[in-house]
């Protein structure tokens, strides 16, 4: 691939193309999360979870990534519903949940190896990507404990949608290639975020939330 002279200079000075791609992807993903939050009103598990999930999906592929996500969430729900009946400290409960997660992922990989289920070649995927997806469990359980199951599930869905959009954007070769060659886009992203940071208008979600106020019988 032909790079611009500035990109070439960076790559020649100790930064690998993979690192540069990842760093640029993070700026894009972070902007996607801030647009999703402040323009659309989509609440995610902070900024870390959707960014790390999108990057993990770029390594695993969306199909594998989402199937591991489903296993992680189902195991978390199962383990939490059992553990909440047992009297114990919060962190120990989370620790047991991670142990159960490891077991269920091992079982899942064994099943895939044996039966395929359309998810062959999973062993080729770097394990760190799966571990990154597994951290979603912590975010999910925290919301579940503090708020409600419905709230946690809604935020999980928003996180997955934003992560999937992020995955789509960073895995398009022409997009990542263009940004790597046009690194001035990174400061532009900063400016976009400054504008989003100043945005005072209603979020798209607010239009649905407050729809009833705009109907008849409105009193100022």
């Amino acid at each position: 691939m032909q790079f611009s002279s500035f990109t070439d200079w960076i790559l020649e000075n100790g930064i690998s193309s993979q690192t540069l791609e990842l760093l640029v992807a993070i700026t894009l993903l972070a902007t996607i999360v801030s647009i999703a939050r402040y323009i659309f009103g989509s609440k995610t598990y902070g900024i870390y979870a959707p960014v790390i999930l999108a990057i993990a999906y770029s390594y695993t592929g969306l199909k594998y990534g989402l199937s591991v996500t489903v296993i992680v969430i189902l195991t978390t729900l199962l383990s939490y519903s059992i553990l909440k009946r047992v009297r114990m400290h919060y962190i120990t409960r989370i620790a047991i949940n991670y142990c159960m997660l490891s077991i269920s992922l091992v079982i899942f990989f064994l099943i895939i190896d044996r039966y395929g289920l359309g998810l062959e070649n999973m062993s080729q995927i770097p394990p760190l990507a799966f571990i990154s997806i597994a951290t979603l469990s912590d975010f999910f359980i925290k919301q579940y404990v503090q708020k409600s199951f419905k709230t946690s599930l809604t935020i999980l869905l928003s996180t997955l949608i934003v992560s999937t959009i992020g995955w789509y954007v960073i895995t398009r070769n022409h997009i990542s290639g263009y940004i790597i060659n046009n690194l001035w886009i990174v400061p532009v992203l900063i400016i976009i975020n400054i504008f989003i940071g100043q945005f005072k208008g209603l979020r798209i979600k607010d239009y649905f939330r407050f729809k009833s106020i705009t109907k008849e019988n409105v009193v100022k």
Binding site: K43, Y90, K147, K150, T154, L202, K205, Y207, T214, V219
Partner: protein, 483 residues
């Protein structure tokens, strides 16, 4: 939808944070609201009541030495820096012969369960940023009987949003079975808007549990899961002016420019402040069916001289305008305590052709039958009746009501003969018992023409006084009483 101008009146999260929370709530003021112990201390200095603290547990060591026997039958455990009602457990009673307490759901928690919960609070499981916290064991507020009728087990509270020392909007949150007795809207508590001027409830809503979108509401008219569901609109919140005053004192003492004050009505103590909120939620707009932004902009920059001034501004700017809405919801009309009415002459003509005059009537729920002054009665066609009554030589007063009744029974034919007098009424006026003629007159009140019975009395400040018999189906707005 996006082009609907009505959305301009609504306050969204972006604007709330940028235009109101950040500029008007300093970090030190927010720190007060986010710390319940500090809030209690500051409010105590101003003479504002908060639930009494029984114990403060700062460490596991302190928890180990807690004297459980000294705890009362009912109490509340809450984190000092908790958010959104998380980590709050209410206990209603103690299990006989055991160190165990009963929750609103009927669940029994023994000492070990409570210790575990408090340990979780200390570890920061419910606090902002998961930082280590202090557990508060405090008094359980005993709900005022009025709001208790509309709540399932828990304690309902009233939230007043204040800005620039003016109460802007208010709502009450009523615990339901679905919300497990908590006043948390996300758990399914009912939220009812309150008219800032009168303290009368207006619209109600509940989170739509079926909706996939979070924070979507459905309008409701009655409570949803009580044995006997009750209509939610038209409830007069007790101590309304006092509630507004307390909310403004809380704003002043906390120095939060934009604040949500949560107040509960205690059966014995009256209004008690639960907590101050530096980032109050926006669902209050749905319950009031009106936008916060329009109201906030109307008070921005106003110079408010005192708490009384702030309340007056709120009542003038935002009050009374929901009267029609109350009528629409409750089927009841709102009348002011002194109201201009039309009084038709007794000329037997159709109301459209009949002579009429505008008079100021006083609404008095302390009397049963409405009253009409003698000179006005004479003017509108009852002169003959008054002359006839006067000519009968009736005693000026009677020693007892029974004797007055006996006189009426004995002379009823003579009293009612040949005039427009319908009946004779016994009335007590300035501790004197006397009898007066009752006529039937036509009035137009709040757009409605009706025939009412009126006692002809001596001339007083108000030529017409409307009594309880004719006030059925009306709500009286006392806010515009004496200007």
């Amino acid at each position: 939808m996006l082009l609907n101008k009505k959305y301009n009146d609504i306050l969204g999260l972006n604007r709330r944070n940028q235009e109101y929370v950040r500029p008007f709530n300093s970090p030190s003021a927010k720190a007060i609201a986010d710390n319940k112990i500090l809030t209690k201390k500051i409010l105590a200095k101003e003479g504002i009541k908060t639930p009494e603290v029984y114990k403060l547990i700062k460490s596991k060591k302190q928890l180990r030495f807690l004297d459980w026997e000294s705890l009362p039958k009912s109490f509340v455990v809450k984190p000092n820096k908790g958010t959104g009602g998380n980590g709050i457990i209410v206990f209603y009673g103690k299990k006989k012969g055991e160190t165990a307490w009963i929750r609103p759901s009927g669940e029994v928690m023994n000492k070990r369960d409570i210790i575990l919960h408090i340990e979780n609070i200390l570890e920061g499981r419910f606090s902002m940023g998961s930082k280590s916290d202090i557990a508060i064991i405090e008094e359980r507020v005993k709900t005022d009987p009025l709001l208790k009728q509309y709540s399932y087990k828990g304690v309902p509270d009233i939230r007043v949003i204040c800005f620039n020392n003016v109460p802007i909007m208010a709502m009450t949150r009523l615990p339901t079975k679905r919300s497990n007795g908590t006043a948390n809207l996300h758990s399914g508590a009912i939220c009812t808007g309150i008219d800032i001027s009168t303290g009368i409830t207006t619209y109600s809503m509940q989170m739509d549990v079926k909706s996939l979108l979070s924070d979507t509401y459905e309008d409701i008219e009655t409570t949803t899961d009580l044995k006997e569901n009750k209509k939610l609109s038209g409830i007069q919140i007790p101590n309304w002016d006092e509630i507004l005053r307390i909310a403004l004192i809380c704003q002043k003492s906390s120095k939060l420019g934009y604040i949500g004050v949560d107040i509960a009505l205690d059966r014995d103590k009256g209004p008690v402040v639960f907590e101050l909120n530096a980032r109050p939620g926006l669902g209050i707009q749905v319950a009031n069916k009106t936008g916060l932004r329009a109201r906030l902009e109307r008070v921005k920059g106003l110079e408010i001289k005192s708490i009384k001034h702030g309340i007056r501004v709120a009542k003038n700017l935002f009050g009374g305008e929901v009267e029609e809405s109350i009528e629409a919801i409750s089927g009841r009309k709102v009348v002011n305590i002194t109201e201009k009415i039309l009084l038709f002459h007794d000329d037997g003509k159709d109301p459209a052709k009949s002579n009429k005059e505008i008079v100021t009537a006083f609404m008095d729920t302390g009397i049963i039958t409405s009253r009409l002054s003698r000179s006005l009665a004479s003017r509108i066609g009852f002169l003959e009746a008054i002359k006839h009554f006067k000519s009968l030589g009736i005693p000026d007063s009677f020693p007892t009501l029974q004797e007055a009744q006996e006189y009426i029974d004995k002379n009823s034919t003579k009293l009612l003969q040949g005039t427009s007098i319908r009946r004779i009424a016994k009335i007590i006026d300035e501790q004197t018992i006397n009898i007066k003629p009752v006529i039937e007159a036509r009035i137009k009140i709040s757009g409605e023409i009706k025939s009412v019975e009126m006692v002809i009395t001596e001339d007083t400040t108000h030529p017409v006084v409307i009594g309880r018999n004719d006030l059925k189906g009306y709500l009286i707005d006392t806010s515009k009483t004496f200007k």
